[in-house]
Amino acid sequence: MGKNPFAKPASQPPFLHQMLGLTRYHRVERLAFLALIAPNFILFGVFTFWPLLYNLYLSFTKWNMIVPNPTWIGLDNYAAMIQDPIFWRVLWNTIYLATGSITIRLVMALALALVLNQKLAGRDVYRAIIFSPTFTTGAAIALVWAWIFHKDLGLLRLPLSWLGLPSPNWLADVNWTIPALIIVTIWRGLGYDMVIFLAGLQGIPAELYEAARVDGAGRWALFRHITLPLLSPITFFLIVTSIIGALQVFDIVAVMTQGGPMNSSKVYVYYVYENAFKFFKVGYAAALSMVLFLITLAITIFQTRLSRRWVHY
């Protein structure tokens, strides 16, 4: 966490040329390096960087995948985006889903991590089970939730009926689709956040608490002035990765609601998919992808900048 990826090794192992008994690096070494690294780079070049460039080009064109060549239309796709009410709705849905899910999830994950951060019988078992949804299959679990959210027969109606509450028509009511998706994303992401928080809590030196207690600090003061500030790099990391993750939600939406009803649950990547592969508006989809790319890039740059100032190490 927070390790500088560009840091130099603590003790530089001998380079190949030293191992071969040569005094400086040699052409052989460069060739061997290139040979070892070539598969990775060719694959990245072909399947990552070329598509990104090609995507930029496509975003300035109009194309339906049927006629042989895209037609250049300049910035028209971007202009269309600004005037597209569905685009703004999609952006709002994505932000709503992200903030709802992330805030609730982080608070719950921190609470659970605090409870687990003590000697407790069966701790590893608790941790593994709560972590398990991280690895469940989105498309499959979305089908289970679709049935749990069923208005008349769904399992979720049970606790609501105990409280005497009517069950909302979760996946068919424009006001309830995003809350339903928030529930599913919290369920899936909670365990991961908890495990990361727990790792962070275990990294806080016990002496800090001891010293503060000697000074007469209470439990709340310890939490407020030691735990929270020392967890801030982790919290920040989780917020940023969760936002980037939330921008990419696709499978549960595709399976549970297909963006409906009336676009109420249409999220960003689903809209890209729909434009490209259902409406065959390839240029428009490419422009939407570019904007997603720029948003992600901005968040990443913002993260590296801000983490220096805001985060207390």
């Binding site: 966490m1 990826p5 593994a128 498309a139 990419q248």
Partner: protein, 284 residues
Amino acid sequence: MTLLNSHRQFSPLRLGRALSAHAVMVFAVALTLFPMVYALLVSTQTTQEYYTFPPNLLPGTGTLHNFAVAFERAALARLVFNTTLISLAVAFGKMILSVTAGFAFVYFDFRGKLVFFIVIFLTHMLPVPVRIVPTFQLMDQLGWVNTYWALTIPFFASATGTLLFRQLYMTVPASLADAARIDGAGPLQFLWNIIVPISRTNLMALFLIEFIYMWNQYLWPLIVANAETTRVIQVGLKVLIATDAAVEWNIVMAGVVVAMIPPLIVLLLTQKSLITGLSLFEEK
């Protein structure tokens, strides 16, 4: 945490605190498990057994029928085969490419290495959905749509894996490589006899995580391999729900159970090394 175990002797306060901690955890475990357990239950029930309110929370009598119908209707055997095949291929491919690239970054020296490293680092931050449209075009031009190639080759390179192994090799003591040199080992012997063995834990973690990651892929297979021969299980399940008649949820759940079980088994068998491994992936 010392806060809670500083008084060693028995005290009612401590007991109460432990009990409430267990209560919180049991509640969290119940909330975590109920969708999976419920899917398992419904997959055993006949239509009469599951189509009621309040929901029937006992195992039913329709297990064999439900799974048989699911396997037949969605060609589940083929879907499981396809998914297993591509997940294994990608996990192995990523292991090999990550070790060689990580090794090259640490043990080779020349100007311009930093540029390569920055490229890898940037790749690591690019979300996949950003490039689905052009990558699909590329698959189309290569004639790879609805082939296993499209499901494997674009996934082989691993920025995360490369960073992970680079990080590991930077902590290898220089004396190890020196000793190897004195023994007259060439770089390839060094890679195979020393570097690969010390990578075992990380390789295991990378393999598990990438296997599950591939098993759970949905968007890309949906776009690029939606033919009966190459479909993966996540995509194929929709056959069970996309009917004109009423959805038979017990059959759907049988399919869901088949799709969910392999990653969960992998997780349960290896939870320790997987969670340890995952902490290596924090940057992801």
